[in-house]
Subunit: 203 residues, 4 copies
Amino acid sequence: MRDSVETRARILKTAERIFSEEGFDGARVDTIAKEAGVNKALIYYYFKSKEEILETILSGLFEDAKNMIIRSAENTPDISGDNYRELFDMYIDFVTKNRKIIKIAVAESAKDNKKSSVIMELGKIIVNAEIEKIRRSYNAKGLHFPEDEKELLVMEFFTGLMPFLAYALYKEQWESVYNISEDELRETLYRVYQKTHLAAHLE
Amino acid sequence: MRDSVETRARILKTAERIFSEEGFDGARVDTIAKEAGVNKALIYYYFKSKEEILETILSGLFEDAKNMIIRSAENTPDISGDNYRELFDMYIDFVTKNRKIIKIAVAESAKDNKKSSVIMELGKIIVNAEIEKIRRSYNAKGLHFPEDEKELLVMEFFTGLMPFLAYALYKEQWESVYNISEDELRETLYRVYQKTHLAAHLE
Amino acid sequence: MRDSVETRARILKTAERIFSEEGFDGARVDTIAKEAGVNKALIYYYFKSKEEILETILSGLFEDAKNMIIRSAENTPDISGDNYRELFDMYIDFVTKNRKIIKIAVAESAKDNKKSSVIMELGKIIVNAEIEKIRRSYNAKGLHFPEDEKELLVMEFFTGLMPFLAYALYKEQWESVYNISEDELRETLYRVYQKTHLAAHLE
Amino acid sequence: MRDSVETRARILKTAERIFSEEGFDGARVDTIAKEAGVNKALIYYYFKSKEEILETILSGLFEDAKNMIIRSAENTPDISGDNYRELFDMYIDFVTKNRKIIKIAVAESAKDNKKSSVIMELGKIIVNAEIEKIRRSYNAKGLHFPEDEKELLVMEFFTGLMPFLAYALYKEQWESVYNISEDELRETLYRVYQKTHLAAHLE
DNA sequence: AATGAATGAGTGTTCATTCAT
DNA sequence: AATGAATGAACACTCATTCAT
């Protein structure tokens, strides 16, 4: 019974890696089985289809994101110059830890054949959480919240969230192409993020 | 002979659409043939393999990007408050027109199994062009160019380029999920871009 | 211990139903287990293989048939106008009660790949029993038994037994397609059987 | 193009044989391909699934049956002592020629999971055709047609048609088990059929 | 007597690619 | 330049059967 849980988890972890390496369609169940060290039929004992493995993995990303948002709301309930760094680190850690799943999610979300996508859904909950924080910051300072909420949505999604997703996607390629260390990339991105996205929240 | 060129182009256009809808691995040569209205074997008369179709399409994106950069260098050789809008429009038009290919490129670039990727290559040439413009702006104003070029690279890639790619990827989904028109999204993004990325270039 | 017998019987009863619904090859051990409410491995505790379940079921049919023949020989040792009905009912009851197994047996016997088949074996013992009765009837009446025993064999198999097997096979379909009740079908078949097969035994 | 028709026919002929030997569920597409001397994928070029092969084969049986009925209606439009033999031969030839398909049809029709079945459908058209003939015979003789049409239906199906289907199913097994030649079995069955089913049509 | 987990060998089906014309 | 037919190598998924407890 303990083993069973561990086996299922191993399958998921392996699938996550293979999906992120080959893409969902490019990945082979055979490969997952072999690399997870289990019989292929066992995968279908735990999951009803390859599709269900993907869904399970993406649900995991959602859960993780929600938990991070809750923790984030507790630790840094509003935005101020002081807690910028904490917030940034929380997000960078999240996307770094989940970068394989994020790659899968982005690749799938790029497909033109669906109305909405995982990234849009993920965007929604993260963006809303951020906007809530901003609202609280304004209230705390006794300022009235800017009426143009749509602009805020666009800002959080396109210039707030995207750099983090891009970091998840291209971190390793940046390290190898530009010969930059993980730490340096992270620090540089922090400075850049301060000067661009975060700066816009200080007027 | 005219026909032959047209047929090849039709195959490419159809492949571009199918790839962007289903992803490269998810797409079927059969589907491309049927939807392009040609015999499947004919595709192999024009292209050596499915892979070669992809390469041809992605090369097209490169050519287009290079041309845009050249035009851009002529029209707006440096960056100033006055030509922001022109620059923004040029990029938005480029990613809108090429959004199908960009979706393919991003999905492929998300795969963990390659050192570098199309998006990294595309990033390089675009980012370099932008940095060149910035350098020229500094020189024009008699200022000395900031020493930290790496920060500039990171900035142009993660907060300069990414919002445009995200626009290409999620434009349609944004329109349908947030019930926003193409124009409104574009205008809002312009304002956001001004307040974040472009603002950083004005200190 | 009581339970154990009951469990085994439940497996057999369920297998009988599933085999008759899906055919032997179409049936899945998984389905039998689930519908019998037992663990799949338990089926292999009671039976060596899926094949052995089938054999057990078909042996059951044989035993039942033999018992019926013995009872039949006691109750109606010869054939006369008076006991036609009793005989007919005995057979109809037998094939009705065993119709699921008969469906399985016929479907299996239809396969071209065996020399003989369950239905041929079943035919043999039933036909022989009937012929024995006829012989006794002739003797009782002081008549000499017709020399052409082969004709008798053919008659008992093709026009004596077949209508009963067909009744087992198509009873439910007849009821639904021709909107006829079980009783009406049985009575009509009796009249028909009298006018055809039984009539031939009266000259 | 000629070849293409021939290849498709060869696949069907082989499938017919394999299905009749192993049953539909027991048959393997691999086996059909190998024995038809074609690549397995080619089977899916001509037929969309194993199921569709079966349907095509069974449709063929229907067409053949209809044609036989039409020919039969022309040659022997009513029933009389004189054309018994012709009628019998027509049916025996039909079921002999189509015995492989009939085996498949009976095995499939035995499955408990369908409302109606091929054999019921086949029964309907054949039985109706026979009843029509009987009606014509009565009219020709100036007799009034018996009111109980349901009895006629039952008679034609259970004692008229069934012996022929049984002949198709068990002909070979009879030959080998009872060491009887094809001709002798056919002749004996004719005599038996005369004394039973046909006799009932002479009152 | 009973079960959850595991497996080898397959099973129908698909796919990119090629051949012959 | 174009096509219908053909193929080898997968591919996702299944199944009867067994193992360990």
